[in-house]
């Protein structure tokens, strides 16, 4: 599904040049659950931003679903992103002014899905994370764990092929953290590819494979489980 080759990302300011990704190579297959680990500043987040098409690489190749996307412009990336990728963030990033329902609905609005259809999909997604009873609440009225469940619902509502999770449990206590990880695992079992950046050894064990990064490239890869194709 994803193949990156010799990917480089260099940040330049007037005085310093920072190499965030240094000829990074990686491949992720469909239905895979990959955890990316590494110390702060090793390039995990940069990688995730490029995979999420929020940022473009300085050089190298990035093939997504067979298409070379590293040279795509903003609009094309945006179209590809909204159709295929869901995001889960460490700090949830729900919009304060929108209700739970409206937050989850957001990706559907931007994918031009009709209101009636949207309602069905949002309700299904909220059922999936057991947040249906809170559909009319605002984020500030929810606990951290609840907010992250809403964020997960938002990430999956559009049935994306890929979910990118950036330390999804970083702001949660362990009980809520486990719940979110179980949610992600079950999504993966239903066929969604997941790439997750994490600092937590515990969380990484939910993945099929752990990629350890240092100084902008892969240093080790550990395969934890066989990839079993889940029934669609």
């Amino acid at each position: 599904m994803i193949k990156i080759t010799d990917l480089e990302k260099i940040y330049r300011t007037e005085e310093v040049e920072t190499v965030a990704l240094n000829k990074m190579c990686m491949e992720v297959k469909e239905h895979e659950f990959v955890a990316i680990m590494g110390p702060s500043g090793c390039g995990k987040s940069t990688l995730l931003n490029i995979l999420g098409m929020l940022d473009d690489p300085t050089s190298g190749s990035f093939v997504f679903n067979g298409a070379e996307v590293s040279k795509y412009n903003e609009n094309k990336r945006s179209d590809l992103r909204k159709a295929n990728i869901g995001f889960v963030f460490q700090s949830f990033n729900l919009i304060d002014e929108l209700t739970v329902f409206e937050n989850v609905e957001l990706p559907l609005v931007y994918n031009n899905i009709k209101p009636a259809e949207r309602k069905v999909m949002v309700e299904a997604a909220l059922e999936g994370v057991q947040m249906m009873h809170r559909r009319n609440h605002f984020p500030s009225q929810l606990s951290g764990g609840q907010q992250q469940r809403v964020a997960v619902a938002r990430a999956v509502v559009n049935n994306p092929k890929l979910i990118l999770a950036d330390e999804p449990t970083g702001n949660l206590d362990s009980k809520n953290g486990v719940e979110v990880m179980q949610l992600l695992t079950s999504l993966n079992e239903k066929g969604t590819t997941i790439i997750m950046v994490t600092h937590s050894e515990h969380d990484s064990r939910y993945a099929h494979r752990i990629i350890h990064m240092l100084d902008g490239k892969t240093v080790t890869e550990n395969f934890l489980k066989e990839l079993v194709y889940a029934a669609q």
Partner: protein, 793 residues
């Protein structure tokens, strides 16, 4: 859906929304009031159906090197237009404008109403509608009068007045028609009309005018041209008319001028309309209206971009989940649109609330009319402009954020927006400063002229309007007045002396430079006028009773004496005749006094003639320590003994004088009002900005306090940035205000000089207001418990 969300965003950010909506509401209301006033001024005479074809006769008279333009006509004018100008459909003469007291004989009631003498052609020309009587025959009887619906109701109630008579002095007028009340805001404001020929005959009988003299202008003349006539051709034909009729003796040039332009474009120079006049003031206020809306929009822009940090995350999330930039621009424009609409609704309410007071201020009856497409489109237009002006920049700015940065909660760099924000704050305060300075200068200038020594002793001086019948008894009246014990002195005059509307040229004297021909103002005076009016005699003496018996003695003012050189002395001679033996002899010279324009430096030349048969005003100087109410009552009763029909309303000279400034004072008040509003709206913006920056820096303030900063240190820290902006605004504002104020004063020769004290004073005031505004928020932040503020994140 989007709208609902936008509403929610507006309601959840109360401070921000209230500041914006309040600013916009006040801004739109101010602008709407100004625009209503401008509309009124611009629509002068537009209510007349056929206005495009109606013109007024104007004259360019040459006096030496100068050409003076007057809208007057002489007796042969109308006749000549009828005879030799087929392209002019009709004309009407107009004169004798003023209040008359009408007596309803049977009921012995008197009514004083305003009106004038005009020709029957007027009815059709200005579209008067007759409710009773027939316009075609109304002026046929010997002494007819047509009256307005309002006047008819007042005098006759519900009765049909046609055929009834109204008496003025010893003449009976037959009511021959009632016309529908006339629209306001036109050149034609009257409750009654009497045929012009009656006025003309009276004047001829009294020997005041000559029917054939082209140079004796004593009335005005309106013409209606045939539709689609070439106006330039008419003007070309009119130009040499008087010269032709007088065998070149009189070089006055005639022209016609559209009556739609009479109130706004009356400024003439060298015989040509300059395109200026009151329109300059109207334009100025129009611009002030726009600027105030813009200042309110600036608040909107600034508060939006200042809050960008707060909205950045939302933009990031929306973009991550697929929102394109155009969608976000829509979202933000939606918000500004909703805010504008809310403000507009509030503004309409506020306009209705303020209109009565505003109308009182401008002495008009302005109203907001939702059936008037101009008003509806105007309001919607303002709303649309606000939405885009206020919303567009924030929309494009906020939607430009990159999701990657905002989601990481990195501080987004606000470089460009911060600069724009600073620039706009500078603009707001510079404008507010300029408005306040200019207003203060206008105010000081009016005060300065009002305190001026006019050369006339205005105190205790009362004037009454008089009629020819009254003047016949003048000797007896004088005795009676003296007998009351209240009057110190009394005299008759053709002019109020604060204003002199009669003048003439072609005066000659020994040693005169023949290339000059000054226009001399003329006053007809009874004995004792100089004394009664309190004018100062430089030399010679006041008129005595024997002077009025056809003597050739006159009194002149100092300006004319100076102009006459050697001959400008007691015993010197001056006259219009070529024969020096027919000239008048100077028996007195008075100090210059100010008339017609209180701002003029130098007086015009004046001659007082010792005839008073055509006097219009009785001057009575009250003794200084008498009870004025008692004195006026007594004097009125004396006067009424001689003219029982007249009500004799007294006018104090002080009031006449103050009325000379009513226009300026109105403009001054309007400017002050809107300058105040401009600074108020600017402060709302500053208040909002300082609130957000204090909020954003809560943590920083906490850390500083933990490290030992005092409240004062924090106030300085937060206030410093804004003070720099205010000072830059002042640095820009001072020269601009100086220039504008200087330009304003340029039109006056009697004027204040611009002082640094004024500008410094206003600058300090603006700084003080700004400090108060900013400190309020900063103080809140500064006194916060640091432990709390550090933990906020």
């Amino acid at each position: 859906m989007n709208i609902k969300q936008s509403f929610r965003i507006i309601f959840r950010n109360k401070t921000y929304s209230i500041l914006n909506i309040l600013g916009l509401t006040v801004g739109i209301t101010s602008a709407a009031l100004i625009f209503l006033w401008v509309e009124y001024k611009m629509s002068f005479n537009r209510a007349i159906p056929n206005v495009e074809n109606i013109y007024m006769i104007g004259q360019n008279q040459r006096y030496g090197d100068e050409i003076n333009t007057f809208f007057v006509a002489s007796s042969p004018m109308s006749r000549t237009l009828n005879e030799s100008f087929p392209e002019i459909k009709c004309n009407t003469r107009s004169g004798g404008e003023g209040s008359q007291t009408f007596i309803l004989e049977k009921e012995n009631k008197s009514f004083t109403e305003y009106g004038r003498y005009m020709d029957a052609t007027t009815f059709d020309m200005i579209g008067m509608k007759f409710i009773r009587g027939d316009a075609r025959t109304a002026f046929n009887p010997a002494f007819p009068i047509v009256i307005s619906e309002k006047m008819s109701e007042k005098i006759f109630g519900k009765d049909d007045p046609v055929g009834k008579t109204l008496r003025v002095e010893d003449r009976l007028y037959e009511v021959t028609g009632i016309f529908e009340d006339l629209p306001g805001n036109t050149s034609f404001q009257f409750e009654w009309l009497i045929p012009f020929r009656i006025l003309e005959n009276d004047c001829i009988e009294r020997g005041w005018i000559s029917v054939d003299h082209w140079g004796s202008n004593w009335h005005s003349c309106y013409v209606e041209v045939q539709s689609s006539t070439d106006i330039q051709a008419i003007n070309q034909k009119l130009k040499g008319l008087i010269s032709e009729k007088t065998d070149g003796k009189n070089d006055t040039e005639l022209f016609i001028y559209p009556i739609t332009k009479m109130s706004l474009y009356w400024e003439f120079k060298d015989g040509k309309a300059t395109g200026g006049g009151y329109i300059r003031t109207v334009r100025l206020f129009f611009i002030i209206g726009l600027v105030i809306v813009f200042i309110a929009c600036i608040n909107f822009m600034n508060l939006s971009t200042a809050r960008s940090q707060k909205r950045a995350l939302e933009v990031g999330v929306r973009k991550t989940f697929g929102a394109k930039r155009t969608k976000l621009v829509h979202l933000f424009l939606n918000e500004s649109g909703i805010m504008t609409v809310l403000s507009l609704v509030l503004a309409v309410g506020l306009i209705y609330f303020c209109l009565p007071s505003f109308n009182q201020l401008v002495s008009l009856k302005l109203s907001l009319d939702f059936t008037n497409p101009v008003h509806v489109c105007g309001l919607l237009g303002v709303a649309l402009i606000c939405t885009f002006l206020a919303g567009a920049y924030p929309a494009f700015y906020l939607s430009s954020f990159s999701p990657m940065n905002t989601l990481k909660k990195q501080k987004i760099s606000t470089g460009s927006a911060a600069w724009v924000r600073k620039g706009l704050v500078i603009f707001q305060f510079a404008v507010a400063f300029i408005l306040i300075c200019t207003t203060t200068v206008i105010y000081q200038q009016i005060q300065y002229a009002q305190k001026r020594d006019m050369g006339i002793k205005k105190e205790n001086l009362v004037t009454f309007g008089v009629t020819p019948g009254f003047i016949n008894n003048y000797d007896a009246i004088q005795n009676e007045l003296r007998g009351t014990g209240f009057a110190e002195s009394a005299a008759l005059s053709s002019q109020t002396l604060l204003q002199i509307w009669s003048n003439g040229g072609s005066y000659k004297w020994a040693g005169k430079n023949l290339n000059t021909n000054p226009l001399i103002s003329i006053v007809q005076a009874s004995p004792n006028l100089i004394h009664a009016a309190g004018l100062n005699l430089v030399s010679g003496s006041d008129f005595l009773p024997q002077d009025s018996m056809g003597s050739m003695r006159i009194i002149i003012n100092q300006t004319l004496a100076d102009m006459m050189g050697e001959e400008g002395r007691i015993g010197g001679k001056i006259g219009q005749s070529d024969d020096p033996t027919q000239h008048h002899e100077i028996k007195g010279i008075v100090e210059d006094f100010v008339f017609n324009d209180a701002y003029r430096g130098k007086s015009d030349p004046v001659i007082f003639f010792p005839t008073y048969s055509s006097a219009n005003f009785l001057f009575v100087r009250l003794k200084p320590d008498v009870n004025q109410i008692e004195a006026l009552a007594k004097i009125k009763s004396v006067l009424q003994q001689f003219s029982p029909d007249k009500s004799f309303e007294p006018t104090f000279m002080d009031d006449r004088f103050n009325r000379m400034f009513s226009g300026d004072r109105l403009e001054g008040k309007l400017a002050a009002l809107f300058a105040g509003l401009a600074i108020f709206i600017s402060c709302l913006g500053l208040f909002g900005l300082s609130a957000f920056s204090a909020e954003q820096r809560t943590k920083e303030i906490g850390i500083r306090k933990v490290l030992g900063a005092s409240i004062k240190d924090i106030l300085v820290l937060l206030g410093k940035g804004y003070m720099v902006l205010i000072i830059v605004a002042l640095a820009i504002g001072i020269p601009v205000a100086w220039y504008i104020a200087g330009n304003y004063l340029r039109d006056y020769s009697y004027k204040i000089s611009l002082s640094w004290a004024l500008f410094t004073g206003v600058a300090l005031l603006v700084v003080l207001i700004a400090i108060l505004t900013v400190s309020f928020q900063s103080l809140k932040a500064a006194v916060n418990n640091p432990v709390k503020s550090i933990k906020t994140e």
